[in-house]
Each structure stands twice: as structure tokens, then as C-alpha cells.
Amino acid sequence: MDTAILIDIVKSGLVLGALYALMATGLSLVWTTLGIFNFAHGAFIALGAYLAWQFSSADAWGLPMVPAILLSCAVMFAIGALLHFLLVKPFERRQDIVLISVITTLAGAVILENGLQLIWGARSKQIPPLAEGAVEFGALSLRNSELILMGLVLAILLCVGLFLRYSRPGRSMRAVAQNQDAAALLGLNVPLYFSMVFGIAALTAGLAGVFVGTIRFMSPSMGSEPLMKALIVVIFGGVARFSSPIYAALIIGQIEAFSVYFVGLYWAPAVLFFTMIVVLLIKPEGLFGKYQRTL
């Protein structure tokens, strides 16, 4: 195989991986902390994209890009916390919380997606690319927008990781995730941190949505495919550490890029799902997971 093609495949895999990492982080954060699977995550992605479009587009409010994204982050955080309050918190004490939260978050996703359609209509929109032009590194040609995307994703994930590791609220969140009862006994407000985790997940999903919106046309259901990708990533890598879905996302990105080249655009997702099922059968806790199958 030609080296140029190989480099091209790896590059597109990296871009995909970066996007998937951003999508999967919020999902795995909610999973590890609250013990539930949030099916509204895909709707969060779409919502983030639409909010950013609303704030930044010349047809709407026309704010500059950076404040627009910051504003949509804040709104996404608030919406995430609100949805936790409405869709998950009422059932925390119920025994069948796993099934109930699947149902309520699915219903929440339906409401969000149809709400998007009501507010912004079905006509496709697009967020302008982050930057024009390209840079050349020998055989490798990188578009500036791709570079910025990868850089930003790295920065965002680093921020979230550092926040969780070193800041006081971040450490409280990890404490709540590890042992709810002990955290409550130490005086931590468990529902508050649950809401914050949901908010952060929504925020990262919204950012992922912004990036998706710069690449593709936006539609209310634009989040369902990324949701499935995030699901694959989370299951593939497991959720033992904050970083495991990130590694998994990079691997999945490469697998996808290579299978697009070798089996075609249509069959690539099937390859991914197949890989995921194989991983689930052999190592249900994920490639980087520790054995723990209580959920």
C-alpha cells in the first residue's frame, strides 16, 4: 500500500478518534458516576450544535465564534443538570433504575430531537468551519480546521481530566462515583454532584456537536449516529478510568478509517459493531476495564 494513503487513513482515523473521544467521555462519565446509560446523549450532541449555530450564525444572533461556543457550553451544562433533575433523579431509589433510566432518557431524547425540529425546522444548517487553509508536513497535508479540532479536543479532555483529578468539585464527583453512601456520610451533596456530572456530560456532548456541525449538515437526528459510536467506544474500552474511553476512541477511529478504506463506507459501521460484540463476549468489562460487572 502507498505510504501516502496509509498516512491519510491514519490521519482521518485520528480526527475521527478525537471526535469519538469527546463524545464518549460524557457518556462514560455518567455511566461510572450514576450507573446509568444516558440515551439522551445523542440529543445533547444535536442540541449543542443547534445552540452554537443559533448564537454564532449570521442568520441568527451572530455572536463571534468563541463567545458563542462558551455561551452554548453554559446553556448545555444547565440543560444537562435540568434533565438529570427531571429524568433520572426521581427514580434514584427505585430498584429498576437501570431500565427506568433507559426508558426516560430515550423519551427525553425523543422530546429533545422533536423540540429541535419544532424550533429550528428540518432545513439543514451548517456551522462555518473553524479555520480555512491547510498546512503541509512533507507527504502529510492537514487542514487547519482538522488541526484545530484535534487540538481543541485534546485541550478540552485535558481540562475535564484535570478538573476531575485536582479540583475540589471534581474530586467530590469521583468520590460520589466510587461510593455514594460514604460520600454522603462525609457531607457531600450527592444529587448535586450527580446533576453536575450530567451537566458536564451534556457540555462535552454539546462541544462534540459543535465540531460535528462544522463538518456535516445539521439535522435534529444528527446525534443518533454519534450516540451509537460513543456506545461502541465506551463498551470497547470500558469505563474503569477517565482515560480508557479516550484510548478506545483512538483505536475505534483507526479501525473505522481502515475499514472505510478496505470494505467501503457502508460496511464500516458493521465492522465496528461486530468488533464491539466480540469484545463484549470475550471481555465484557472492556479492553481497559477491570473486572466489575455489577451494572
Partner: protein
């Protein structure tokens, strides 16, 4: 003697037949095609939803790939009937077959997974099937699907003619077959194994139920009619679209399941009709349609986890409560003189904190100055069960009996707080206090026996002697019940909320006497009893301090007699005889020869003689005990 109540008789048969007849006749009368179209869709969705309930509700297996099985049925029909030219009828059957095979493939990876992983794997697998369908566009038409599928024909008659009446009846027939299949399945050994695994997995496995095999069978069984319904859907709408794999369709069917109520066949059936019509009615509102259906899901899950079916059950409970309360009200006014003539005692209504209690008391007539004797009746009976004792004991004793709440002509009461042995005992204390009685001989029959034991154990009233009949004392509940009673299906009837006519007769016959002119009032009492009194009696067992009763018997401060019928069909006599008693009359249970569960009614003379001599013994014993003081 083995007691076998007629549990196999179904009670919902009448509403079912009525509904079936209505559905059969309706298209002959009304010809509105659109309404008929929605009905056909509702039939199909009802099949999908009820089968999904088999895995989700009955098995507790979060199979989110169920809708994909439906889509597999559609595509099987499309490919076989259109591309390969197979007879559409065969293609419909084949839809069930392929769906079952795919279900088995889905089942394999989830055999040993739990909880959320089952959801994720089944969703992933259904997405995988979806992607295969989309990608394999030469065969499946890709994202645009397949159109103009062949319709169903009988000879040259196209079923879509005459306002789709043919599709209507085939859909209805499929639904009926499907319901019969699920009904028989859930009541078979396999069905019981499925529910056992859901309710107590480790216990079921310990009893030899194979989890993996049962799961595989459940998923496969739930696929057959789903696939057939999918194929029929394809034949009806004549399109196969990949939308059937989508989250939107999944949410729609899920809402039918949840709004209807999981874990029953009828809940999803009702839910399918309700949601089909709701969503068709909302079809003109665009995105609002989906939003409202989703909101309905959330509201049901928050406020009404049991769904419509639970609402129906609650309605039934309210109606049954009203029925039995009305019977009590009528009986209170109409039959009072007849009852007083029967017992020879005065009847009055006593206001207690548990509602009005009917008390029969010979105090005002013949009982003045005599020692008091309290009779406590059993489950689903009434105070007149002791009318013969009223006659034979009234010349020496002041005989008192009352109707337990929810029984006889006493009021129905709040089931949560009232229908348990503890509350019954408090009522007995109130009744005795109202009669001005502080020392009393107590006779308790069956459920009343536990009230008698509790009354003696509490010690707020001085119980001078204690006799129980048909009441094996318990210590560890419910474990002891398994030994104390002959393990027959009887235990199901004693706690069953609603009796069919036949069940009521069977219960009345075995608990008291076969239906005759003499015992007719006891059989009427069974019908009058508030069903909740039976149901809550079992669920509120833990309120009572059973070991205290056992300690009281072992300590033996109160002379005690056990006067069981020797032929009592419910009792384990060896268990009763093997307990430790401190002061048991004649040192052993004194069984009444040929007596059944109610020997005082069936073998009155023998019983009265025995109980008489016990009472005399107890009085002498008591005097002897009192003498030194």
C-alpha cells in the same frame, strides 16, 4: 385428603369473549376505512408489544433488539415474496422463522450477561442488523427500502378490497392466535421457569432451572409471532423501510408496553390500542406527536409504574370494595332480626377506630352475671358461624361474637392498617371493653384462632381459658406455614383477592360445610367478604409478633385446648401435636372425630361436649390457682 381448588378456571373469560365478539362484528357494521386501518395497525403492534413483554416483562430481560425482529419479519417477507416470488402466505410464515433464528443469534451473546449489558448488546446487535440491511442494497434496497410488495390474495380476491376487510380479519386472527400462544406459554412449565428466574434468579437456578436455556427459549419464542406480525405488516403496507429499525419506532412500541403495563399479556394489548389511536390522532401535529407520546411514557413511569392495566386492577378493587361494603350495609338493615333469631343474642353496631363492627352479645338478654365467652370467626366467615354455640352455651355463659372488619355486616376498613391479626386483636379488645368484660374465655377458629392467641399473649384482657380450632400456632413466619399447613393450593385461595363463583363455593365448602340450606349463609359470607381482607392477611403477616404467641403457649399461664377437626383438610396434625405447650388440656390436641375445618358447625354435639368439659376444667383449674391468693 387432598384439597384441590379449581384454580384453572379463568375469571377474565367473559370480558375477553365480549371484546372478541365486538372486534369480530364491528367491521360488518361500520365501514369507516381509516378507523379500520388504525385497528389493523393496532393488531400488529399489539402482537409486537405483547411478545416484547414476554422477554421484558415476564423474563425481566432488557431485550432492546425486539423491534429489529419485527423489521426482520418485514424484510423476510419483502425478499421472499417480491424478489424470490414465493407465495406471500408462505413468506409470512417464513417471517416468523427467520425472526426466531435471528432472535436465537441475539440470544447467544446475552445468555450470560446482566442488566445494562443486555440492553447495550441487544441495541448493538439490532443496529448491526440495520447496518447490514442498509449496506446490502442489492438485496434490501438500502436506505430507500423496498416498495410495491405483493399483497395477500385468496384465489383472485385481493384482501385489500372492500375496505381492507380481509386484512382486518387476518390481523385479528393472528392477534388471537398470538394471545392464545402467550397465554399457554406463560402458564406452562417454561413460563413458570421464566418468571421464577425473574423473581429470584439464584433460587430458580438452585431448583434446576437453566438460565441460559430458558433465556434462549424466551427470546426465540417471543420472536415467532413478532416476525409473523412484521411480515404481515409488510404485506399490508406493501413497503419495507429501514425506519422499522429506528429509535423512533422502538420508542413507540416501548410506550405501548409501558403505558399498558409490563408483566401481563393484557396490559401491552390495551397499551397497543391506546397508543395506536393516540398517535394516529396526534399525527397531524408533526413533531408534537412524538413529544406527547414520549411525555406519556415519562408520566406513566413517574406516576403510574403499573400502567393502564394496574389502573384497571385498581378500578376493579374499588368496585369490589364498594360491592362488598354495599352487601354489608344492606345486610345490616335487612337481616338483623333473622340473625338475632338465629343466635338469640342482641346485635349492635359498635363504632371503633377501624369502622363499625357488628357485635352479637347475649349480655342484654340472657347473659347478665354469667362468665363471658368470646368466639372469633375465621377468614371469609361471619359471627353467625357460631350460632349453634350461641344456643348451647347461652344458658351458662354470656356469649359474645363479632364480625371482623371486611366480614359479615361490619364495615370494610382501610386494608393497610386493618386487615391483619394485630388490628383484629385490638378490635376484640375494644369490643370486650365496650361489653364491660375484663375476664373472658376465648375460642378462636382458624384466622380467629390467631386473634385469640394474640389476645392472650398481649394480656390486656384477662383470658381465663383459650381454645383454638383449625389454627396451628406459628413462630417463624412464613417458614412455619409450610409445615403447619398441608401444602395444597388451598393457601392460594385463602389469600386470593377475587373469587369466582366456583372458587367461592369451593372455599366455602372446604372451610365450613358443603352448600346446603343450613350453610347457605356461610357461603354468602364468603361472597360478601372484602377480598382485600384475604390478600392483606398474607401480606401483613410480619406485623404480628408470632414468637410471643408461641412463648405464651409454652409458658402455659392460660389453660389451653386444641380442638381441631380430625379430618381438617388444611392442617398438619403432626405439626400441631409436636409443639411445646405449658398448659395443654389433657396434654394433647383433642381432635373432634370426623370434624372438618369447622367441627363446631359440622359435628356440633361432639364439639360442644368437648368444649364444655374443657371450660369446666379451666374454671376449676383457675379457681384452684386462685385459691391460695
Amino acid at each position: 385428603m387432598r384439597y384441590d381448588p379449581p384454580l384453572h378456571k379463568t375469571q377474565g373469560l367473559l370480558p375477553l369473549i365480549l371484546a372478541a365478539v365486538a372486534l369480530l362484528v364491528y367491521p360488518l357494521v361500520f365501514e369507516a376505512t381509516y378507523f379500520r386501518h388504525v385497528m389493523i395497525l393496532a393488531f400488529i403492534f399489539a402482537i409486537v408489544a405483547t411478545n416484547w413483554d414476554l422477554s421484558l416483562g415476564y423474563a425481566g430481560l432488557f431485550n432492546f433488539g425486539h423491534v429489529a425482529l419485527f423489521a426482520v419479519g418485514i424484510y423476510t417477507y419483502a425478499i421472499l415474496a417480491k424478489t424470490l416470488g414465493v407465495s406471500p402466505w408462505l413468506a409470512i410464515l417464513a417471517g416468523g422463522g427467520t425472526a426466531a433464528i435471528v432472535a436465537l443469534l441475539i440470544a447467544l451473546p446475552v445468555l450470560r450477561l446482566d442488566g445494562i449489558y443486555v440492553i447495550l448488546v441487544t441495541i448493538a446487535l439490532s443496529q448491526l442488523i440495520y447496518l447490514v440491511v442498509i449496506s446490502w442494497s442489492d438485496v434490501t434496497g438500502g436506505t430507500s427500502g423496498m416498495v410495491t410488495l405483493p399483497t395477500l390474495k385468496i384465489g383472485d380476491y385481493r384482501l385489500s378490497k372492500d375496505g381492507r376487510i380481509g386484512y382486518y380479519y387476518i390481523g385479528l386472527g393472528l392477534l388471537a392466535l398470538n394471545i392464545a400462544f402467550l397465554y399457554l406459554l406463560t402458564r406452562s412449565r417454561l413460563g413458570r421457569a421464566i418468571m421464577a428466574l425473574r423473581d429470584n434468579k439464584y433460587y430458580a437456578i438452585a431448583r434446576g432451572v437453566s438460565e441460559a436455556r430458558t433465556r434462549a427459549l424466551t427470546l426465540t419464542a417471543s420472536a415467532v409471532f413478532t416476525g409473523i406480525a412484521g411480515a404481515f405488516y409488510g404485506a399490508y403496507l406493501r413497503v419495507a423501510s429501514p425506519d422499522a429499525f429506528g429509535m423512533g419506532f422502538l420508542t413507540l412500541v416501548l410506550s405501548m408496553l409501558l403505558v399498558g403495563g409490563t408483566g401481563t399479556i393484557w396490559g401491552p394489548l390495551i397499551g397497543a390500542f391506546a397508543i395506536s389511536f393516540l398517535s394516529e390522532w396526534l399525527a397531524g401535529f408533526g413533531p408534537w406527536q412524538n413529544i406527547i407520546v414520549a411525555l406519556a411514557i415519562i408520566l406513566v413511569v413517574v406516576f403510574y409504574p403499573g400502567g393502564l392495566w394496574a389502573a384497571l386492577q385498581q378500578l376493579r378493587e374499588v368496585a369490589d370494595g364498594l360491592r362488598s361494603q354495599t352487601l354489608a350495609r344492606i345486610g345490616r338493615r335487612r337481616g338483623k332480626s333473622a340473625r338475632e333469631a338465629l343466635t338469640g343474642a342482641r346485635e349492635r353496631m359498635l363504632k371503633t377506630r377501624y369502622g363499625q363492627i357488628a357485635v352479637a352479645d347475649t349480655g342484654p338478654t340472657t347473659g347478665a352475671g354469667k362468665p363471658a365467652l368470646l368466639f372469633l370467626h375465621g377468614n371469609s366467615a361471619c359471627k353467625e358461624a357460631f350460632y349453634k354455640q350461641f344456643r348451647s352455651f347461652a344458658d351458662r355463659y354470656r356469649v359474645i361474637a363479632f364480625d371482623l372488619p371486611g366480614h359479615g355486616v361490619s364495615d370494610n376498613a382501610d386494608p393497610e392498617t386493618t386487615y391483619n391479626v394485630d388490628a383484629y386483636t385490638r378490635i376484640a379488645e375494644e369490643v370486650l371493653a365496650d361489653c364491660g368484660v375484663t375476664r373472658v374465655h376465648v375460642f378462636g377458629w382458624s384466622l380467629g384462632g390467631y386473634v385469640a392467641l394474640e389476645l392472650a399473649a398481649r394480656g390486656t384482657v384477662e383470658v381465663t381459658s383459650l381454645a383454638i380450632c383449625g389454627t396451628p400456632p406459628l413462630a417463624v413466619v412464613p417458614d412455619d406455614m409450610g409445615r403447619a399447613y398441608v401444602p395444597t393450593a388451598h393457601m392460594v385461595l385463602t389469600a386470593k383477592q377475587y373469587f369466582s363463583r366456583e372458587e367461592a363455593r369451593s372455599y366455602g365448602q372446604h372451610a365450613t360445610a358443603p352448600l346446603s340450606e343450613e350453610s347457605a349463609f356461610l357461603h354468602r359470607a364468603v361472597r360478601r367478604t372484602d377480598g382485600r381482607a384475604r390478600a392483606y392477611m398474607m401480606t401483613k403477616l410480619s406485623i404480628t409478633d408470632w414468637p410471643r404467641q408461641m412463648r405464651m403457649l409454652a409458658e402455659g399461664r392460660i389453660p389451653t385446648a386444641i380442638l381441631d377437626g380430625s379430618d381438617d383438610p388444611f392442617l398438619n396434625h403432626d405439626y400441631v401435636a409436636g409443639l411445646k405447650y405449658g398448659n395443654l388440656w389433657k396434654g394433647a390436641p383433642q381432635d373432634i372425630q370426623d370434624g372438618k375445618h369447622a367441627p363446631f358447625f359440622n359435628r356440633t354435639d361432639a364439639f360442644d361436649l368437648t368444649y364444655f368439659s374443657f371450660l369446666r376444667f379451666a374454671e376449676n383449674d383457675h379457681m384452684a390457682g386462685d385459691a391460695p391468693a
